[in-house]
């Protein structure tokens, strides 16, 4: 398998969700490095550090205190250094309006948080593979839009 390391960030205020997500990532047969953030502001502070190694993929919960996912997404897309990052929204909301809104604001992937672990592992793996294809193939990043 390829030796390229995939840097992943997750911002989610729920401790259990963060833990389950880490366990799911560990079970997936890809070389990954995961950084965890407790809310949107923590993530944004990290992304704007000087000389930071930017993640290849960011998972954003929508409902978080201090700074929510939608605000982070807007800031990321409006920042010239961050605007090309791949962002996956990771939320319990399955309202069509939320989904379309986040796509309009520049999200690449919308994932509904699954309610069991094996399903979670499956969807996270799918997102990682998709993201990998977009990093390594000649696919159009302007239309990188998936709902999983």
């Amino acid at each position: 398998m390829s030796d390229m390391l995939l840097n992943i960030a997750l911002a989610d205020d729920d401790e259990d969700d963060r833990m389950l997500f880490s366990e799911a990532i560990e079970e997936i047969d890809m070389r990954t490095k995961l950084s965890l953030f407790n809310h949107g502001q923590e993530l944004m502070d990290y992304l704007t550090l000087p000389n930071v190694v930017l993640p290849n993929l960011i998972f954003l919960d929508l409902n978080m205190p201090i700074k929510n996912g939608k605000q982070c997404l807007k800031e990321i897309r409006n920042n010239p250094n961050l605007k090309d990052l791949c962002v996956a929204i990771y939320s319990t909301s399955s309202s069509e309006k939320d989904i379309e809104d986040t796509f309009l604001n520049g999200a690449n992937i919308y994932v509904n948080k699954p309610n069991n672990f094996s399903k979670l592992r499956e969807v996270v793996e799918k997102v990682l593979q998709l993201n990998w294809q977009y990093h390594t193939s000649n696919l159009n990043k302007d239309t990188f839009l998936f709902r999983i």
Binding site: S2, E100, L130, Q133, S137, N138, L139, D142, T143, L145
Partner: protein, 179 residues
């Protein structure tokens, strides 16, 4: 005013590579499928300059053999999907003829290094072409289905929905209203 442009990726890449090689005074022949034959030995120093020059355009010189073969497979598939004359040819025989390996070998190498199969890559690439046409042309879905060799518009919509989680019309609306 908004202008719409269509790119010939293959030509763009070949032109860039050619210009950069000429700038560095490297005698070469560019063959199809992302292969460059260098006529004389390439000094390490020049090789580094070339790496750096091409990197600015997002072009990477591949170092490992498997990676190289995977890139050639992808390139051949991309070509094949864009070329309407080839639609009656079977993918497996087309790939093995073009690359001189058995399909079984190609398929194993591909799956081992890309986290996906040749079949899944083709679907993803095809859906990518559908997306491009929805955004950049006035073609109807029926016309796009015909161009990309789907048996029907229902088949196209079904594969689009299954792959992206969105229907073509929702996708089109989002892209139209974006930014």
């Amino acid at each position: 005013m908004t202008l719409f442009v269509k790119y010939d990726f293959d030509l763009v890449c070949k032109t860039v590579v050619k210009e950069q090689l000429n700038l560095l005074d490297i005698a070469h022949t560019i063959t199809s499928l992302g292969e460059i034959k260098i006529h004389d030995a390439l000094e390490a120093e020049k090789r580094e300059l070339l790496d750096a020059a091409l990197k600015r355009y997002g072009i990477q010189i591949l170092s490992n053999q498997k990676e190289t073969l995977v890139e050639r497979i992808k390139h051949t598939i991309d070509d094949m999907l864009q070329n309407t004359d080839l639609r009656t040819v079977k993918v497996s025989s087309y790939l093995s003829d073009a690359l001189n390996y058995s399909y079984a070998h190609l398929s194993t190498v591909f799956s081992e290094s890309t986290y996906t199969s040749i079949e899944n890559y083709m679907i993803l690439k095809k859906v990518d072409l559908v997306k491009e046409r929805i955004c950049n042309t006035d073609l109807t879905l029926t016309e796009i289905a015909y161009q990309l060799d789907y048996s029907s518009v229902a088949h196209l919509s079904g594969q689009f929905k299954k792959t992206t989680g969105l229907t073509p019309s929702v996708f089109q609306r989002i892209m139209k209203n974006r930014n």
